[in-house]
Symmetry: C2
């Protein structure tokens, strides 16, 4: 049976890298005889907002809910629409309404990519950040008092639920269990954030009992970010709350030099709703329209999507194609961010041809 | 008139680095004819807690409030006392009750110190993190519902006030104004944390109007941590909320390789209450008792204290003494963390002799 894929390119370079993401995806589908039914949607972009006064049509949920996956580019263009409107009106809606409670991002040194860390080689750094993706610090609950006066007080609540915390921890432990090092690191700040974070720690300890083979440690977020820089080889699977996971899943790819090419998956593990796959990078208004955006994040996200849909071999082939093209390092093929003279299309095509 | 300094060594290596901090301080006081009246207190440590059932005596506030500064070692020893008790019962009490609303930490590449970042030289990285130190995410307001059941909900409030936000921003802008680059970077997350963080941004914009010479930018905390690794040379003065400042002021020194030797100041700028000076490192139970802890963080904190007390020249002399000993790099003098065979005393003495 065909996998139904909804494509939303979004804004800025999202619209430029998406065609290359699809090119690679189709190449993999062809080689591995995977049946993909791909449908493209124009909503979920700032231009859509400017025309319709909203980021999504009223029936977006019904339009999308029966897809197997959403393949997303990037959203946001602050000069057109304020971020909190464009993001809360699209991406963050999908994550919540489709209960994509896992945000998963690989942090991996890739061949041919210069890491900003001294003396690290491919193979040295290879871990996942698992982020809670629906609750916690991104609550939108709170408000203001004495507004506009010197006595102004502004409050926002962090909300954690047993359900919300346990299910992301379970996913992270399950993932750690499948890895050779079987190591889980939890991000906390229970020494400073004295209610929610000790609770998080408590649930980690409770969950750990069900996974005797997984070795568990925890760090406060401040020193954990330091250790991403100082000892990135320590990590295998790192799990954090919505905010901490957000930070770590940008910092991790920064440490591997892959922030511009890293993929991410927003997963509803039960498959009740579609999961969403998007590059870590944003819409990059500054380079949009030039055709020079690096499409690897989009292509690599496609690999995560194939893996999620059960096609591990095809996913591997995609990642290997990316690695091969990076290792080869042809200046005519690579985009300017990789010190090449190529463009989005040349790099995308080179990868698709390798599959 | 003598400056009254209260000394609290605290736990673990705090008690080992403090004598060297004092040795250097006294050397500087002697050379620059500064009159210091130093008094030592035994409370504020986990051992005190084990004996008295509390971290501080009931009248600690009155005992300490008339000092000009507190010189602190490190607190915490989780095997003796849970962190949230030891920290909230001492350090965090001081910060709040003495209204030390500024936490200030330099991030500076030092000679002879290996930065984990590739290709960076002393001079390339030299900025300050200014952290709000009394409110925000460290609120201790919140609670649990449906405790112990599957429906458990745990809530913690982030509380920002106009007073609290404006005064830390003012301090940061004032600091930026004194620097040659006059650049201020604000840490935000207004695209995800939709109430308090847009408020923070709003106050930054309002404050910026009073400082036309200061150039201002802002980054979301996720990409900001990435930029600490990728472009540490971009930063001059970075200001953040309690949590964001906490993270950045560990990550910054990690990027400069100085996490083990960085100092910090907890400042009440009006001088209504004593300010507190402490190394960034903790009590390090794992190496405590061996006499090998690096005392530079304590000594450098002493330099920040002298600066705060108005002795800029003496402060500079202290920092220059540290830099000279590091640049010399004598293995017999340096502690093991710097790949030397020396110890706390040898390194402390070498620095004191240079002053
Ligand atoms: C020990 C802890 C509560 C403290 C904090 O988070 O403020 C520490 O990390 C610091 O930065 O001084
Ligand atoms: C755009 C923003 C709201 C989002 C987030 O913080 O979740 C982004 O940083 C991400 O990590 O996908």
């Amino acid at each position: 049976m065909a996998h139904r894929i909804a494509v939303i390119a979004g804004d800025g370079i999202g619209t430029e890298v998406m065609p290359e993401g699809l090119r690679a995806l189709k190449a993999a589908a062809k080689r591995f005889a995977i049946d993909l039914d791909i449908q493209t949607f124009a909503f979920g972009s700032c231009d859509y907002y400017l025309e319709h006064g909203k980021m999504l049509p009223d029936d977006w949920f019904d339009q999308l809910k029966d897809f197997d996956a959403l393949f997303y580019g990037a959203v946001g263009w602050p000069a057109k629409v304020p971020d909190h409107i464009s993001l809360w009106g699209s991406l963050l809606q999908f994550r919540r309404r489709f209960d994509q409670y896992i945000n998963l991002r690989p942090c991996k040194l890739m061949p041919g990519i210069q890491s900003p860390l001294a003396g690290r080689e491919p193979g040295d750094i290879d871990f996942y950040v698992v982020r809670e993706n629906t609750e916690g610090e991104y609550s939108s609950v709170g408000g203001k008092m004495f507004e506009g006066t010197d006595r102004e007080v502004v409050i926002q609540e962090t909300v954690m639920t047993r359900t919300g915390v346990d299910r992301v921890l379970k996913y992270a432990f399950d993932l750690a269990q499948t890895r050779s090092r079987k190591k889980l690191t939890s991000a906390t700040k229970s020494n400073g954030i004295s209610i929610t974070m000790p609770y998080w720690d408590e649930r980690v300890e409770a969950m750990a009992e069900a996974y005797p083979e997984v070795s568990v440690d925890k760090f406060h977020i401040d020193i954990l970010t330091a250790n991403f820089v100082l000892h990135p080889d320590w990590f295998d699977v790192v799990v954090g709350s919505n905010l901490f996971g957000d930070i770590l899943s940008d910092l991790g790819p920064a440490c591997t030099g892959t922030i511009g090419i890293a993929p991410s998956a927003n997963i509803n593990p039960e498959g009740k709703f579609p999961s969403l796959f998007e590059p870590v990078h944003g819409s990059a208004p500054d380079i949009a329209g030039k055709g020079i955006a690096n499409p690897i994040g989009q292509i690599w996200s496609g690999a995560m999507m194939l893996e999620h849909l059960g096609h591990q071999e095809a996913a591997n082939a995609l990642v290997e194609a990316i690695e091969a093209v990076l290792a080869e390092g042809s200046p005519n093929v690579l985009t300017p961010d990789l010190r090449g003279q190529g463009n989005t299309a040349s790099l995308g095509r080179a990868i698709a041809e390798r599959i």
